[in-house]
């Protein structure tokens, strides 16, 4: 048997039972690799369950810095008898299977092309710890200790993480260190360490941080100046508001009075969550809410009102698979159309597509600015993979000179100097009108906010011509927005090929890895990452100037492709869908295969071959 052998390039998967405390042990493991300067990317595959169902944690280690998911498991750490049949099957030929040999492994789990590494985890745990919960928890740390030796991780790094983690509960450090040593010493005695598949210190991570996107989004809300936040708990978006709230308690409380410069409301449902945001922005506060698919459906009515009444809304949509319970703990990019055109009547909304935690942070603050500037809903289109998994990311950065763009708001002084105020007068001819806030001026600027049925002076009217003028102006505002939203990212100077690839959000990791694979196979395609909707001229030019464009996304119906077709008036045959919608993050292999197997590629084959 040829054992898999590589340095800093493998996938390890942990098969655990939900609620057994394994995820913190797995995160410690991942962090040790990160701290050794080796690029890595962890993914948590979890059930809609608090305790008992199978859960997996996967870490891809990639010296080259590929952060997308990769097919195939090189090392399986198996702790869940429920899923063991599948877990054994999933190991790549030549791979390794780490298991608890406190009891012997059944014959049905033995494969000839896999190396088995048994460790008496529970036995050692029972022998060394007294209370049953501790025995369960330290079993997890024992396997992490074993992996330290098996994979060549530096023990000092691992123990440093334990010390950091329990800095406030130092009593917990020695028993954790003991568990690490128990695991490490056992494998040193019984196996040749490290395995042919192992890690070696690098210096490739620079000043990167390891953070989940939702935390970054929440911190972005703090820095962006949100003061009113409301939400209804829904996976996978809940942790956005959790993060906002926990940092607000640290950073937004007046040290003298103990009073809070923020308010968080856990509302009765998503209808109320967005209603609270709308009320707050109408009254001049910066506000946001976070939700996921079903919440978007419920919020659609208010999105329509906010669009027509021209009120800022910042909405974080952490996308997931479909309705109900179960698959919604898996990732997708499947709310594109539901978000872009959410609501009744002629509506369209600004969308931002972050692809790293750093961008979640930036876009959260940016969205608050854009919402105020354009007096309209702005939706941040994150997803479960980005939101809930930790990603290596550039550090969060804040420009000290940056000022909030509160948009066109007339205060008392400005109103005093205004001869005739009309809420919906397009004074600057950019489609954006001046608004006033309740309480600003005793006699000037008050108006009645309505969805439709109003003229430029905000007077009630059912005159069709007035309605038409208003909605046409909203399109003018949309055109203005095109130039103000983040533009696309191009990865080559000028067009190198007659075929291009468009992608966005978390698809970026795998798309860029696929680009390298395609290049190695002789196909040098032009890559473009889209960061926002409406699409600006650069996007239009990219689509126009290529014969074919592959649109890579994570949903069944090629929704982003539909959006491009609809907005840019492109012939559908020109845009080739590359899709993934099984709930797992898309892989580079999948993208490469889809593109290389596409009959289209043979048409552009000659043109895409590198000519040099």
């Amino acid at each position: 048997m040829q054992k898999l052998s590589a340095v800093n390039d493998f996938v390890i998967r942990f098969a655990n039972v939900n609620g057994s405390g394994s995820s913190s042990a797995n995160e410690i493991f991942a962090k040790a690799i990160f701290r050794m300067g080796i690029p890595m990317s962890p993914k948590n595959v979890f059930p809609s369950n608090i305790q008992g169902l199978p859960t997996w944690y996967e870490v891809r280690v990639s010296e080259k810095g590929y952060m997308g998911r990769r097919e195939g498991v090189d090392i399986m750490v198996s702790l869940n008898p429920q899923s063991m049949t599948r877990d054994v099957e999933d190991v790549a030929p030549g791979g390794y299977f780490v298991y608890d040999n406190s009891k012997p492994l059944l014959k049905e789990f033995i494969r000839e092309d896999v190396t088995y590494i048994g460790i008496p985890m529970i036995q050692m745990s029972i022998a060394n710890y007294t209370n049953p919960r501790q025995q369960q928890l330290f079993k997890n740390i024992i396997y992490v200790g074993a992996l330290v030796e098996l994979l060549g991780i530096e023990m000092a790094v691992m123990k440093g993480i334990i010390a950091d983690q329990f800095a406030k509960k130092p009593k917990l450090i020695p028993p954790n260190d003991l568990a690490l040593d128990l695991g490490a010493n056992y494998v040193k005695e019984h196996y040749t360490c490290p395995l042919p598949l192992h890690v070696k210190r690098l210096d490739a991570n620079g000043d990167s941080i390891l953070m989940d996107g939702n935390t970054a989004t929440g911190i972005g809300g703090i820095y962006g100046g949100a003061t009113v936040v409301s939400w209804y708990p829904i996976t996978p978006s809940t942790s956005v508001v959790n993060a906002f709230e926990s940092y607000a308690h640290k950073l937004r409380v007046d040290p003298e009075t103990g009073k809070r410069n923020f308010a968080v409301v856990q509302s009765e449902d998503e209808l109320a969550a967005i209603g609270i945001v709308v009320g707050a922005t109408w009254n001049g506060a910066r506000a946001f809410t976070a939700t996921s698919g079903p919440g978007i459906s419920l919020m659609s009515e208010f999105l329509g009102l906010a669009y027509f009444a021209e009120l800022p809304v910042t909405l974080v949509n952490v996308q997931r698979a479909g309705p109900s319970t179960g698959m919604p703990t898996r990732t997708q990019q499947a709310d594109i159309l539901a978000s872009a055109y959410a609501s009744h009547g002629d509506t369209r909304h600004i969308l931002l597509f972050p692809s790293t935690p750093e961008e979640c942070f930036q876009f959260a603050a940016k969205a608050l600015d854009l919402a105020d500037r354009f007096q309209t809903p702005v939706i941040i289109m994150s997803d479960l993979d980005l939101g809930m998994n930790k990603h290596m990311s550039p550090p969060l950065k804040w420009d000290e000179t940056r000022k909030y763009d509160l948009g066109k708001v007339l205060d008392a002084e400005a109103l005093e100097n205004t001869e005739e105020y009309g809420r919906y007068l397009d004074v600057d001819e950019d489609g954006i009108c001046y608004r006033t806030l309740p309480g600003a001026h005793p006699t000037k600027g008050a108006f009645f906010t309505r969805g439709t049925a109003r003229d430029e002076m905000a007077r009630y009217t059912e005159d069709g011509a007035a309605y038409k003028r208003i909605v046409d102006r909203l399109m003018k505002k949309w055109e203005t927005a095109k130039q103000r939203v983040p533009g696309p990212e191009l990865y080559q100077s000028g067009n190198q090929s007659s075929a291009g690839v468009i992608f966005f959000g978390t698809t970026t990791y795998s798309a860029m890895e696929a680009s390298d694979m395609l290049k190695a196979d002789g196909f040098d395609l032009d890559m473009m990452r889209i960061a926002a909707f409406p699409f600006n001229d650069e996007v239009e030019k990219f689509v126009e100037s290529h014969d074919y464009v592959f649109v890579v996304e994570q949903n069944r119906d090629a929704q982003f492709r539909s959006l491009l077709i609809n907005e840019l008036d492109v012939a559908p045959s020109k845009l080739i869908p590359v899709l993934n919608y099984d709930g797992m993050p898309i892989t580079a292999d999948h993208i490469r295969n889809e593109i290389e197997n596409s009959p289209i590629l043979s048409l552009v084959n000659g043109k895409t071959q590198k000519t040099s």
């Binding site: 703090i222 609270i276 009320g279 001049g284 309505r450």
Partner: protein, 350 residues
């Protein structure tokens, strides 16, 4: 064009303490049906604000959808207003109130808007003890969609076509009291003497002040057999007490005989005076109020007036411990922790 009102005012019109005439509190001409109860309520709101000497721009009015929710156009045109989403006024109000705790918030809703589509939001605004006046203009039917029964239509009440309602009506005051509302009142659009002091007291109450106002629909629900008609309501009203509201600056001149009345001192120093109470009812005791409400209902009458008040009410901002400054006035220097703090955060993720 009926919505263009003459702006001419008699120069010697009386003014209130802050120099505003009653006309300064009026709104556009109503487009509701002639005789609609809602217009009387609008007039009572105008009267209350005038007498309370409220600066019109320091009040914000928010409504949902329906005839009642159109009403805010017809009063206080110098106040910002928001005709929002059907049944969602409480959430919009929650956000608005959080953004600026310094304004007075007047929410206007109807029985469809509150007892059906908005019942969830109604209950949750109560739980938060949001500092607002919540008025339901309650006519037992859907006016704008032509007279369907609403959820507050009483069991056995007849619709215009003669069909009896077979469903139990929702009593919003009972519900508000059960849910912990800190100010609950009921009134009748035709009883301005009672309504005006109730509105004034509600505006002075720090917390959720609910007034359910029977407001007959002259077009769809004012016939014989309806329990929300003018004549039926007039004939079946039983007031808890006579009520007077004394703002904080006014000297209390009237003396009551002991046992005759109760004075409830409000947070801002003003006083509610209740006369001729029934002997076994204490308006600051929730249990006795609930009991009184049910007893009068069982006798086939409609209990009106102030039903319950919690003088110790702690409104939402106190519960949330928000800063005294309106949140909408905070800027970068108050809100943005800066790049040094961010670097510390980064460091904790390495």
């Amino acid at each position: 064009m009926t919505y263009l009102k003459p702006t001419f005012r008699h120069p010697k019109m009386p003014k209130n303490k802050i120099g505003f005439a009653k006309a300064d509190y009026e709104g556009a001409v109503s487009t509701l049906c002639a005789g609609c109860g809602h217009d009387s309520i609008s007039a009572a709101i105008v009267q209350s604000c005038y007498e309370m000497s409220i600066e019109p721009h320091r009040l914000a009015k928010v409504s949902g959808i329906g005839c009642s929710s159109k009403a805010p156009t017809y009063f206080l045109s110098n106040s910002h207003g928001f005709n929002s989403v059907h049944g969602r006024m409480p959430s919009v109000m929650t956000g608005a109130n959080l953004a600026n705790r310094d304004l007075i918030y007047l929410g206007v809703s109807g029985d469809g808007d509150t007892a059906s589509i908005g019942i969830g939001q109604f209950v949750h605004a109560i739980r938060r003890n949001l500092n607002m006046v919540y008025i339901v203009m309650n006519n037992g039917c859907y006016g704008l969609t032509k007279g369907q029964d609403s959820a507050t239509a009483d069991y056995g009440s007849k619709s215009k076509s003669g069909t009896e309602n077979v469903f139990q009506g929702i009593d919003l005051t009972a519900m508000a009291m059960e849910q912990g509302a800190t100010f609950v009142a009921r009134s009748f659009s035709g009883d301005k003497t009672q309504l005006v002091p109730l509105i004034k007291a509600a505006m002075s109450h720090p917390g959720f002040a609910f007034i359910d106002i029977v407001s007959p629909c002259v077009t769809f629900n004012n016939h014989v057999g309806s329990t929300k008609s003018y004549s039926f309501t007039r004939d079946h009203i039983e007031a808890t007490s006579a009520i007077d509201f004394v703002p904080k600056r006014d000297e209390i001149t009237v003396d009551y005989q002991e046992g005759d009345g109760v004075r409830v001192k409000l947070h801002d120093g003003s006083t509610i005076e209740l006369e001729k109470l029934s002997s076994d009812w204490d308006p600051t005791d929730r249990q006795s109020s609930i009991k009184q409400l049910h007893a009068v209902k069982a006798s086939g009458q409609l209990l009106t007036g102030l039903l319950y008040i919690d003088p110790e009410s702690q409104e939402f901002h106190e519960l949330q411990q928000t800063t005294e400054r309106p949140l909408n006035e905070l800027r970068e220097e108050d809100l943005c922790p800066g790049s040094d703090a961010l670097e510390k955060i980064n460091q904790s993720f390495r």
